[in-house]
C-alpha cells in the first residue's frame, strides 16, 4: 500500500521533471521561437513539390512507355504538357530563389 503510493509519487515527480526539462535545460535561451515557414518559404515548398511531382510523372511515363503499358499515342499526348509543367516549376523556382538570395543579401 505505502510502497505503491511511494512509487506513484515518484512517478508523478519524474513526469513533472520530464515535462519541465526543456525549461530546465535552457533557462535563458537565445531564441524561444519555433521554426516557421514564412509565406515565401511555403510558396517555395509548394513549387518544389510541383517540380518533384512533374519529374516523377515524367519518369513514370517514360518507364510505362518503355514497358508498353502506355501506348505511343498516349505517350506523345502527355510528354509535352508534362515537360512544360516541369519546366514551369523549375523556372518559377529559379525566380523565387533569385528573389530569396536578394532578400538574404539585403539582410
Amino acid at each position: 500500500m505505502t510502497l505503491a503510493l511511494l512509487l506513484a509519487a515518484a512517478l508523478a515527480v519524474a513526469c513533472v521533471v520530464v515535462v519541465a526539462l526543456p525549461f530546465l535545460r535552457e533557462p535563458e535561451p537565445e531564441s524561444d521561437v519555433l521554426v516557421e515557414l514564412d509565406e515565401d518559404e511555403r510558396r517555395r515548398l509548394e513549387l518544389l513539390e510541383a517540380r518533384d511531382r512533374a519529374l516523377a510523372s515524367l519518369k513514370e511515363l517514360e518507364f510505362e512507355h518503355r514497358t508498353g503499358t502506355t501506348s505511343d499515342e498516349d505517350y506523345r499526348d502527355q510528354i509535352g504538357p508534362l515537360r512544360r509543367e516541369a519546366a514551369l516549376a523549375l523556372q518559377a523556382l529559379r525566380r523565387e530563389s533569385g528573389k530569396g538570395r536578394l532578400d538574404d543579401a539585403r539582410n
Binding site: 512509487l7 519524474a14 503499358t69 502527355q78
Partner: protein
C-alpha cells in the same frame, strides 16, 4: 498494487491534458520550449500508460482476484496464455490497451526524426493529446481496470469460445489497426490547424496508415478463420455488427490509400483525402464503440452500458470539430489541377473511391438501421444477410474489375484506341476463362461467374505488368532476370507491393465466390454403418467415441471418407461438453484438399442417445485460397511498407531547399 495503476492512469490523464493545452498554446504562440515540453508530456504519457498496463498484467498473472477485472475475466485454472489475453478480453482492459497503443503510436510518430515536417508536428502533438485525454478520462473516471473488491476464492473464468489461440492475436491486431488510424488523423488535423496543407502530412503518415490498414486486414482474416474452424457453423463471415465494425474503417482506409496517390501525383482531391481520413478515424472509433458498448441491435443496451454515451459524444465531437476545421481551411485546400477526362487513371481511382465509400456507407446503414428504425418507427428492424450480400455484389464486383483497369490506364486522358491495345490480352484471358468456366458448369451462379471472369482479367493485368516491367529493367541493364525482377520491385515498392496486395484480394474474391456461390450442402441422420453422399464424396459413419479430458468431455463421431474409388482416410466431428462452464461446443471435422483448395466440412449437429448422429456436411470449393490470400496480403503490405531511403533523402533535401533546417 491497484493504487499504482490508478495513480499511473491519473498521471497519464494529467500529462495528456497538459500536452493538449501546452501544445495548443506553444503552437499558437510559436514557443519552442513549450512545444518541446508538450511533446515530452506526450512521450511520458506512454511510459505511465505502460506502467498501468504492467500493473494490470501482473495482477492477471498472479490471479489477484482482489482486482474486480481479474476476478471477472479469469480463473485459477485458466492457462497462462489466456490469462494474458484476458487483458483485452473485457471492456476496461481493452480500453487500457487502446490507450497504451495510442500513446505508443503518438510518442513514436512525434519523436521519429522527421526534420522535414517539424513545423507540422507541433500541431500534431495536441491532437494526439486530445484523443488520449478522452481515453485516459474514461479509464480514470468511468471504467477503471483497477477497481478492487474483497477477493473471491476463484474468478468467473473465461468463456470457452474465447479460450483459443486466435484470441491471442486477433483482437490486438484489430486494435493496432483501430488505433493506428489515429496517426493519419492527427497529422491531417495538424496540417489543417497549422495551415501547412502541402503534401508532407500525407508522406509522413503513409506508412502508418498502411501499417494500421494491414493490421486491420490481417486481424479480420484471423477472425474469419477462427469463426470457420472453431465456431463451427460452416461459414467465416456473418455480417455481424462486430465484424462490420472492423470492415468499415478498413474500407475507408483502402479508399484513402488510393486517393492519396492522386494527390501526390496530380495535386488533386485534397479535401477528399482529409475527409477520408476523418471518416476512417471516426469509423475506427465507432468500431471500438460497437465492440465495447454492446449497442448492437438495440438502444436499450446503450443506456445500460457505462461508456456508450461517452463514446458517442466523443465521436460526435470529433466529427464536428474536424469538419469545422476542413471548412475553415477550404480556401487553402483548392487544387491547382482538375480532372481532365473521365477515362484516365485519376478518374479510375476516383471511381474506386466512390465504390469503396458506397460499400462502407451501405454497411454502415445496415449496422445502424436497427437503431434508426427503433427511433423512427418504434421497432427495431434488422437487415439480414441478403442486404449485405446484395451490396457486396453491387459494389464489390465493379471494384474487382477496376482493380485491373486502374493501374494500367494512362494518367490525365487515355484514348479509347490505346485502351483497346492495353487491355487486349487481359480481356482475352478473361473471356477465355469465362467461357471455359461456363462450359465446366459455373453458370449455376451468375455473380460467381462474373467474379471469376473479372478475377482472370485482374490476374492477367498483374502478370502482364510484372512481366513487362521485368523485361524493361533487364533491357535497362539489370545483369540477370531475377536481378531485373528485384530491381523492378525495389525501385517502386508501392506500385509492385500494391500489385501483390491486389493479387491477394483477387485470391480472396475467388475463395469467397467459390465457397459461397459454388458450395454444396447435405444433411442426414445416420446410424452407425450408414453412409451419405455429397458431390463426389461418400461418407460412412463408423463409430462414436467418448473421452474425458481435464476440463471437458469430448464426443467424436468417426467418418470414413472416399471420393470415387479413392480412400481419403477418416474424419472426426463431434462436440465438447465443458464441465465447469456448463457449455457445449461443436468441434467440426475439416478435410482440406491441398491441390484444389477445397474443404470437406463436417458438423455433427445432433448426437442422439442411441448413437445415431445428425450430420451437416459442406463442400466448399477453393475456400483455402482465402487463408492463403492472407499470407499474400501480408507479403504485399510488407513490400509496400518497407522503408525507402531514396525517398527519405529526397524529402530532407526538399525541406532544406525550402528553408527548413535539417537539425531536429
Amino acid at each position: 498494487m491497484p493504487e499504482l495503476g490508478r495513480a499511473a492512469l491519473l498521471v497519464t490523464l494529467g500529462l495528456s491534458v497538459y500536452a493538449l493545452v501546452a501544445g495548443v498554446a506553444a503552437a499558437h504562440l510559436g514557443r519552442r520550449r513549450l512545444a518541446r515540453s508538450a511533446r515530452n508530456a506526450l512521450i511520458a504519457s506512454f511510459a505511465t500508460t505502460a506502467i498501468a498496463s504492467v500493473v494490470l498484467l501482473a495482477a492477471l498473472l498472479r490471479n489477484d482476484f482482489s482486482f474486480t477485472y481479474v476476478a471477472r475475466s479469469t480463473s485459477e485454472a485458466l492457462p497462462t496464455a489466456y490469462t494474458i489475453s484476458a487483458f483485452w478480453g473485457g471492456q476496461e482492459g481493452s480500453l487500457l490497451l487502446w490507450l497504451s497503443m495510442l500513446t505508443a503510436f503518438g510518442a513514436a510518430a512525434v519523436s521519429l526524426n522527421r526534420s522535414w515536417a517539424k513545423d507540422l508536428i507541433v500541431w500534431v502533438v495536441p491532437v494526439f493529446a486530445a484523443v488520449s485525454t478522452f481515453f485516459a478520462f474514461l479509464l480514470v473516471a468511468v471504467a477503471s481496470p483497477f477497481a478492487t473488491q474483497a477477493a473471491p476464492a476463484d474468478g468467473f473464468g473465461m468463456t470457452p469460445s474465447l479460450q483459443n489461440p486466435y484470441m491471442l492475436a486477433h483482437p490486438p491486431l484489430l486494435y493496432l489497426g483501430y488505433v493506428g488510424l489515429t496517426v493519419p488523423f492527427a497529422f491531417a488535423m495538424g496540417a489543417l490547424l497549422s495551415g501547412k496543407l502541402d503534401e508532407r502530412w500525407l508522406i509522413a503518415t503513409r506508412r502508418w496508415t498502411l501499417f494500421a490498414w494491414a493490421g486491420l486486414g490481417i486481424g479480420q482474416l484471423l477472425g474469419s478463420h477462427w469463426a470457420y474452424v472453431e465456431v463451427g457453423w460452416g461459414g467465416y463471415y456473418a455480417w455481424d455488427p462486430v465484424e462490420n465494425a472492423a470492415l468499415m474503417p478498413w474500407l475507408a482506409a483502402t479508399a484513402f490509400l488510393h486517393s492519396v496517390m492522386i494527390q501526390e501525383r496530380r495535386g488533386m482531391l485534397k479535401v477528399w483525402n482529409v475527409l477520408l481520413v476523418i471518416l476512417a478515424f471516426s469509423l475506427s472509433l465507432f468500431g471500438t464503440f460497437l465492440t465495447r458498448s454492446g449497442v448492437v441491435n438495440s438502444i436499450h443496451s446503450f443506456t445500460q452500458s457505462s461508456i456508450g454515451p461517452w463514446f458517442l459524444t466523443f465521436i460526435v465531437v470529433v466529427v464536428a470539430a474536424s469538419l469545422a476545421l476542413v471548412f475553415w481551411r477550404l480556401p487553402r485546400l483548392r487544387s491547382p489541377t482538375k480532372l481532365e477526362s473521365p477515362i484516365s487513371r485519376e478518374a479510375a481511382f476516383l471511381y474506386n473511391n466512390l465504390l469503396l465509400l458506397a460499400l462502407t456507407l451501405a454497411i454502415f446503414w445496415g449496422v445502424v438501421y436497427p437503431m434508426v428504425s427503433e427511433v423512427v418507427r418504434g421497432e427495431a428492424v434488422v437487415l439480414g444477410r441478403s442486404y449485405y450480400d446484395f451490396f457486396l455484389r453491387a459494389f464489390g464486383l465493379p471494384l474487382l474489375l477496376l482493380m485491373g483497369i486502374g493501374p494500367l490506364i494512362a494518367w490525365r486522358k487515355a484514348s479509347l484506341r490505346s485502351l483497346l491495345t492495353t487491355f487486349r490480352w487481359p480481356t482475352f484471358a478473361a473471356l477465355a476463362a469465362g467461357v471455359t468456366l461456363l462450359l465446366l458448369g459455373a453458370g449455376s451462379s451468375l455473380p460467381g461467374l462474373v467474379a471469376y471472369t473479372f478475377s482472370a482479367f485482374v490476374i492477367a493485368t498483374i502478370v502482364m505488368e510484372f512481366a513487362r516491367g521485368t523485361r524493361a529493367r533487364r533491357a535497362l541493364g539489370a545483369p540477370s532476370w531475377p536481378a531485373a525482377f528485384g530491381s523492378l520491385i525495389s525501385r517502386n515498392r508501392r506500385r509492385y507491393g500494391g500489385y501483390v496486395v491486389h493479387a491477394s484480394i483477387v485470391m480472396l474474391a475467388i475463395g469467397v465466390a467459390g465457397s459461397s456461390a459454388f458450395d454444396s450442402v447435405a444433411e442426414a441422420k445416420l446410424a452407425r454403418g450408414e453412409s451419405m453422399r455429397i458431390g463426389s464424396y461418400t461418407l460412412v459413419y463408423r463409430s462414436l467415441d467418448e473421452r474425458t479430458v481435464s476440463n471437458a468431455t469430448e464426443i467424436r463421431a468417426t467418418l470414413g471418407v472416399t471420393r470415387g474409388d479413392r480412400d481419403l482416410g477418416t474424419l472426426e466431428a463431434g462436440k465438447n461438453a465443458y464441465t465447469v462452464e456448463d457449455q457445449v461446443s461443436n468441434e467440426v471435422g475439416i478435410r482440406s484438399d491441398k491441390l484444389t483448395g477445397e474443404d470437406l466440412f463436417v458438423i455433427a449437429e445432433q448426437i442422439d442417445r442411441d448413437g445415431s448422429v445428425y450430420f451437416r456436411v459442406f463442400v466448399k470449393p477453393l475456400v483455402n485460397l482465402i487463408w492463403i490470400a492472407g499470407l499474400v496480403f501480408l507479403l504485399g503490405s510488407v513490400i509496400t511498407l518497407w522503408p525507402d531511403r531514396r525517398e527519405q533523402r529526397r524529402l530532407v533535401a526538399r525541406a532544406s531547399e525550402a528553408g527548413i533546417p535539417a537539425t531536429p
